[in-house]
Amino acid sequence: MSSHKKPLITFIVLAAFCGLLVSMSNLLSRDRILENQIRFAQKQLLEIANDPQTELLEIEADVYQLRSGGEITGVVFRQSTSKGYNGNISFWLGVNTEGEILGVRVISHKETPGLGDKIETSVSDWIHTFAGKSLENLQEGDWAVKKNGGVFDQFSGATITPAAVIEGVETGLVHFESRSSIWAGSTEQLIDPTTETLNTGENNEY
């Protein structure tokens, strides 16, 4: 009888101790981790806005308005593509009021290090070639790597990754062109940014 009890007690005590350790670390680190995530996102967004004075306003999940002096200068939204070499590539796509790309920043990806990771700003400048491009100033066939007749550089040894990002960006532009209400709607009711624009985001539900 006691030979069955002993391991059970060990199990319970040790499990309780481990649970305590994990919950303690979670409790201690939770706020800071959340803060880190927000700060990391904001850092990328401000890089896209290319102006440290820009205010960021989240109008719905993963969609931010960029404002300068109360006026909307652009919109940044999260987009992702599954056409990469390995798993999803998700990125921020920033567009100004003219529909031109302000910038693209990769949030997460699992592309091959040393090959596909040239989409990161820390590795290569490639992602900056999107700046200034728009659906108007590029033809449909231009949204591709040079090898496939487009205007974007491929990486030596890797075309799948850049091709996926290019297609994802184009898709994002088309998607958001059709949702221009996000801009127009909120420009008109700029009275109280924090509450009013949040409401516009939720209007879809009614």
Binding site: K6, P7, L21, V22, F40, K110, T112, P113, G114
Partner: protein, 214 residues
């Protein structure tokens, strides 16, 4: 009988080095060793987990029944890995963005379970801590060597990503200040997974040659 700490150190660092001799924990070793910074951070986290899990397992070894020993060891290891993972997100968020997947996978690093099972559950507390620390250091040194070689040969850089370790608001340094760039683009193969195996194979050959000629 007094414990032979020098023997434990020699075992962990060289004679029974977990990576070079026992060939354990190769998945993270090969996958993360693309840059020196990534490899070093993963090595340090592994070192911490190994030492901490050896300590706790050794503390409770008299109560570990044979039937539940393995699941309990995994539970202890998973606990410390989770704590380390959270700590990394707390202090080194951007590094975690790059190697986070492999931090969670330390749970499955056989080195950690092997030390818990074959050493910590049979030996006194202090010896177990020393064993965990030495084995962890042995792993850390190998992953640093491997990732350093791969970064230099494969990318032509060294210390890429080091700026992420420091808080930019306090130190104000960027990668441009820290990264050493060599005057060539690097051999792509070395960075790719096959390159990891080839480089590691060369390290093994070198280690065996050294041992034979000692």
């Amino acid at each position: 009988m007094s414990t032979d700490y020098r023997g434990l150190a020699a075992d962990g660092l060289w004679l029974k080095n977990p990576a070079l001799v026992q060939l354990l924990g190769l998945c993270p070793l090969l996958a993360v060793s693309t840059t020196l910074v990534n490899g070093t951070i993963l090595g340090i986290v592994t070192l911490f987990v190994l030492t901490a899990s050896n300590l706790l397992i050794s503390l409770v070894k008299d109560f570990l029944d044979e039937r539940i020993r393995l699941p309990l060891q995994i539970m202890v290891i998973a606990t410390f890995v989770t704590c380390a993972d959270l700590a990394l997100q707390h202090w080194l968020f951007e590094i975690h963005q790059r190697i986070g997947l492999f931090v969670a996978l330390i749970v499955t690093n056989c080195t950690v379970l092997a030390r818990a099972e074959s050493f910590a559950s049979r030996n006194p507390i202090r010896a177990s801590v020393v064993d965990g620390f030495m084995m962890g250091t042995g792993f850390l040194l190998v992953i640093m060597l491997l990732s350093g070689i791969r970064e230099i040969l494969g990318q032509g850089t060294l210390f890429q990503g080091l700026a992420l370790v420091f808080d930019p608001q306090i130190f104000g340094i960027t990668d441009a200040d820290l990264v050493i760039r060599f005057n060539f683009d690097g051999l792509l193969l070395v960075i790719l997974p096959p390159g990891a195996f080839l480089t590691f194979g060369c390290l093994l050959a070198a280690k065996n040659w050294l041992m034979q000629h000692e």
